[in-house]
């Protein structure tokens, strides 16, 4: 599983982050790692090797599709995109996450 610099990601969050990152356009693995890091302002820095098993797992589940293309600097790279099932899963995950983080925030706020 991925790791932050401070500690572990919550289980299953890496999958969600990957799906979220791919919402707008297909990306290759490196770009996904970069955008997760950038979007979280470097707070979430995934151990990059761990990203690939997650990508392949999502692909086997049918949430991601992939094709080979050329990266910005002309390297052979595998681009992942969301499938219809992936979009549905992202929506469900987002809803669940919102509910859960709100609940956690409430708990933390009142404590």
């Amino acid at each position: 599983m991925g790791k932050t610099e401070e500690g572990d990601l919550l289980p299953g969050t890496l999958d969600m982050l990957i799906l979220k990152t791919l919402r707008r356009e297909p990306k290759h693995g490196y770009a996904i790692a970069e955008s997760i890091a950038a979007a979280s302002e470097e707070a979430l820095r995934v151990e990059e090797g761990a990203l690939y098993p997650a990508l392949h797992r999502l692909e086997l589940k049918g949430l991601l599709g992939s094709e080979w293309g050329l990266s910005e600097n002309n390297r052979r790279a595998k681009f992942y995109h969301l499938t219809a099932a992936g979009r549905k899963a992202l929506a469900a995950e987002t809803k669940r996450w919102t509910r859960m983080s709100a609940a956690i925030a409430r708990v933390m706020g009142t404590a």
Partner: protein
């Protein structure tokens, strides 16, 4: 696993190389891009590369995880193990051959024996829903014999309609059939109208026979067998309406039987070629005296089957038969002395009297083949153990690099299964070969079934599955042992583990070999003794055959006997002597008739109707009075010749010549004119008292019937087969001559056939077992010598006598041999008792046989070990120690 996932994994499997390249590329491009970024941030290129690596983590491990995600898990591992197993076999062809060949032989034999058992006992005879069919036999409690039924019996049973749906009777008999040109002897079943309904047989073409065909005056019709249809009519429709001339009667073919149907009984001569109504009996056999069989209880020539109503058990049917049997019959001659016995059709595939003996014989063959499998498995286990010792280094290395003990075990078991699988595959041709051989063996001594001994997938499958399982089980102990030999022990010194388990397997092999060796010896001794028995007649130089005079032109009894005399005369003019007889010479059919020598005392005695020249042709000495002469015919005084035992039985201590006997159902007494010497029909009956026997003149017989001609040939008996055929064809143009063979063959087949099969089978298995056991003992000792070379060298170097060291090693073989022989002793005794119960005439295993077998096995084991240990002498201590 969903379809999508399956598709992706399948693609990775099919384009394996591409997939692996993709994984590499994907990870490499990531690292390259990260490196470029870091260089862009001002890091030196080597430092950037290292930093990228560090940020990525374990690249090789990630690649492995990705590959495994698309992998096939245990299936893939299994496939790897299987391929590894095959590679191992290819790399060690000697080991592969030594392990696989004996196993293939043994499994093949077992499968062939199962095929035989299946054909004899289980294979469907072709009647529909056989579970509800009962066969009905007459059983004579007084003689403890099964008999055929009479037509009045059939009428009685057919009246039990509240219990049966239909009842049928049938009779299988040979007759001469002319299809296009030339008469041929063929078997035909004469059946009553309900036969097809009772047996539930649907013709593949045309119509079945019905009760309509039994009406008086109905045109003669018949159904042809599938085989005949195939060979003579090329399976064409033209068969319907064709005419077959049966014994000169034109019979119209109206249908074809289903493929493979050979009648309900396997042992009533050859498979029938035709099925025709019983009501045609008198037309087909005009000269037969059983004409009014329909009203005569003593004419017992039919077999019967009854299809029971649903919910009627065979026991209920039997109860009804018992009541019927005691009913008084009106308008029917004779009385029923026997009881009607119902037997489930599935158990009545052959004459019930033979069932037990047959089961025992099959069981014997099965036991022999199972012993072969056991020997091959011991051999396999032994070889695997030896190899596991040799492969200890490999196992230890694999365990050291992380293979779990379970994984090693798994791989070893797969390897053994591959090995056993190869043996199974190789056993198929063996099974086919042995089945072919069994087909050529006549089991006449028990009975003579016409078996559909085609290769049988079911029996072959069962045999191979059993062999596979046994072989894999035999590999379990060695595998566990190999997998358990820990990392440390194997890598440190490569020292051999103790060979206790191997010695145990060797003992097992010796024990099996002992059991089979003793059985084979007992059989050999019995067969040799049988060869020395004085049989009292001369079978050498005699040819026999069965001419069909009834179909060959004889229309009456007188004509039949006239033809018989002509035939005899013609044959005698070209040979050194000839005679005719009713029964073939040596036969297991023991027909008896009741003979009365003193008023009121009827003695059942076996008998035969024979012509003049019979005793001369067979060279049976006449002890008193005379033999039979040409003048002993229906116009002369009725006479009889008895053998010595019959004379002693009927007139103890008196001269029988001139005495009078009465044969039951004959009107006049017969005068005893001579006493012939006893003969032994079966040389294996040497220990049994000779059978009393009565000879009656053939030409005084009241009815005509089958005939056997016995010819003492001028040259080699076989060479006279052609002339005999020509003479028969000249005398009786329409009649066929069948069953031509030498008398020696006939005697041999009816007496020694099964014993020879048993002897050959046990001797072959015994030989295999002994060779494998000795090879195992040799290899084991040789292996220990190799393992302990260093130790031996030191001992010899510091002054030990080489001979003493050799002796020390060889005694191990001696102990293995002794232990094996002790374990084999009860097995041998059991084997011989099985043999004696299965094959009549087999002698007991005396102490001499047991002792000789034991001593020779122990000595052989010792010699094998000694031969291997003898290498010690060649060990040059200096060489060995220098290497160390």
């Amino acid at each position: 696993m969903g379809f999508h996932q399956f598709k992706l994994r399948w693609r990775a499997l099919i384009h394996r190389r591409q997939f692996e390249q993709d994984v590499e590329d994907e990870l490499a491009s990531h690292l390259a891009m990260r490196g470029e970024k870091l260089r862009g941030e001002g890091l030196e290129s080597s430092v950037a590369r290292a930093a990228a690596q560090a940020r990525f983590g374990n690249r090789a491990r990630t690649g492995e995880v990705l590959r495994e995600m698309r992998g096939w898990g245990w299936v893939e591992r299994l496939w790897q193990d299987v391929r590894f197993g095959f590679r191992q076999l290819r790399l060690n062809p000697g080991f592969a051959a030594a392990a696989i060949l004996p196993l293939a032989l043994a499994i093949g034999c077992a499968a062939a024996i199962l095929t035989l058992a299946d054909a004899v006992l289980f294979r469907a005879t072709g009647i529909g829903d056989p579970g509800r069919v009962a066969a009905v036999y007459s059983y004579s409690p007084a003689q403890n014999r099964y008999l055929s039924d009479s037509y009045p019996d059939f009428r009685d049973v057919a009246s039990l309609t509240e219990l049966t749906e239909s009842t049928a009777a049938y009779l299988r008999t040979g007759l001469t059939v002319r299809l296009t040109a030339g008469g041929e002897a063929m078997n035909t079943e004469l059946v009553t109208g309900d036969y097809f309904r009772a047996a539930r047989i649907a013709p593949v073409l045309g119509r079945p026979l019905t009760p309509e065909d039994d009406r008086p005056g109905a045109a003669p019709v018949a159904l042809a067998s599938y085989t005949l249809w195939e060979s003579r009519f090329q399976r064409g429709e033209s068969v319907l309406g064709s005419v077959a001339w049966m014994n000169g009667v034109p019979v119209t073919i109206v249908g074809v039987m289903p493929s493979g149907y050979q009648g309900m009984l396997l042992d009533w001569g050859d498979t029938p070629s035709f099925w025709t109504p019983l009501s045609q009996f008198n037309r087909l056999f005009p000269a037969n005296t059983a004409k009014d069989y329909e009203n005569r209880r003593e004419v017992q020539m039919l077999m019967m089957l009854a299809r029971l109503r649903p919910n009627v058990s065979v026991a209920q049917f039997q109860a009804a038969l018992d009541v019927t049997a005691s009913r008084v019959d009106a308008g029917v001659t004779g009385t029923r002395a026997s009881r009607l016995l119902a037997i489930p059709a599935v158990q009545a595939r052959f004459f019930p009297a033979y069932r037990e003996a047959t089961l025992r014989f099959l069981w014997l063959l099965f036991a022999v083949s199972m012993t072969a499998v056991a020997i091959a498995c011991f051999n396999l286990a032994n070889l695997l153990l030896a190899r596991s010792a040799a492969r200890q280094h490999e196992m230890s290395t694999r365990a050291a690099v992380g293979a779990s003990r379970f994984r090693l075990l798994q791989q070893l078991i797969v390897e053994h299964t591959v090995l056993a699988g190869c043996a199974c595959a190789l056993s198929v041709p063996v099974a086919l070969g042995v089945t072919e051989w069994l087909r050529s063996v006549q089991f006449t001594y028990i009975f003579r079934p016409v078996l559909n001994l085609t290769t049988d997938g079911r029996a072959l499958g069962i045999g191979m599955a059993a062999g596979l399982i046994t072989a894999v089980l035999a590999g379990v102990a060695p595998a566990i042992k190999a997998a358990r030999s820990g990392v440390a022990s194997g890598l440190k010194t490569g020292r051999a583990s103790r060979t206790g388990l191997r010695d145990l397997f060797l003992c097992g092999q010796v024990a099996c070999a002992m059991a089979v060796l003793v059985s084979a010896s007992v059989l050999m001794i019995t067969l040799r003794e049988a060869g020395n028995v004085r049989v009292g007649y001369s079978a050498g130089g005699v040819l026999i055959g069965s001419p069909d005079l009834a179909s060959g032109g004889a229309t009456s009894k007188d004509e039949f006997f006239r033809l018989a005399r002509t035939l005899l005369h013609e044959v005698r003019s070209e040979s050194a002597g000839a005679a005719l007889a009713w029964l073939p010479f040596a036969t297991t059919v023991r027909t008896t008739l009741d003979v009365q020598a003193q008023a009121g005392v009827w003695t059942p005695l076996p008998y035969n109707w024979v012509s003049d020249g019979y005793f001369e042709t067979l060279r049976i000495p006449i002890l008193q009075g005379r033999g039979l002469v040409p003048g002993d015919d229906s116009r002369a005084q009725p006479v009889a010749v008895v053998n010595r035992s019959a004379a002693a039985l009927l007139w103890p201590g008196e001269n029988p010549v001139g005495r009078r006997v009465r044969i039951r159902q004959e009107q006049a007494d017969r005068e005893v004119v001579g006493v012939a010497d006893d003969i032994r029909l079966n040389p294996l009956d040497a220990g049994v008292a000779a059978t009393p026997y009565v000879f009656l003149p053939l030409f005084q017989k009241a009815s005509v019937s089958g005939l056997t001609i016995l010819v003492r040939t001028p040259g080699a008996p076989r060479a006279f087969a052609g002339p005999l055929r020509q003479i028969t064809a000249r005398v009786a143009p329409e009649g066929a001559l069948t069953g031509v063979r030498t008398l020696e063959e006939q005697v041999d087949e009816s007496g020694r056939g099964p014993m020879r099969v048993a002897a050959q089978a046990t001797a072959a298995v015994g030989g295999l077992g002994i060779i494998l056991a000795l090879a195992g003992i040799f290899a084991s000792a040789a292996y220990r010598v190799t393992q302990q070379k260093k130790e031996i060298s030191i001992r010899i170097a510091i002054g030990a006598e080489p001979a003493r060291v050799v002796w020390g090693f060889a005694t191990r073989g001696l102990w293995v041999g002794l232990a094996g022989v002790c374990a084999g002793l009860p097995a041998a005794l059991w084997g011989v008792s099985l043999l004696r119960s299965a094959v009549t005439g087999v002698g007991a295993a005396g102490p001499v046989v047991l002792g000789a077998a034991a001593v020779s096995l122990v000595l052989a084991a010792f010699a094998a070990a000694l031969a291997a240990a003898g290498r010690i002498v060649r060990v040059q201590p200096a060489d060995v120690l220098r290497v160390q």
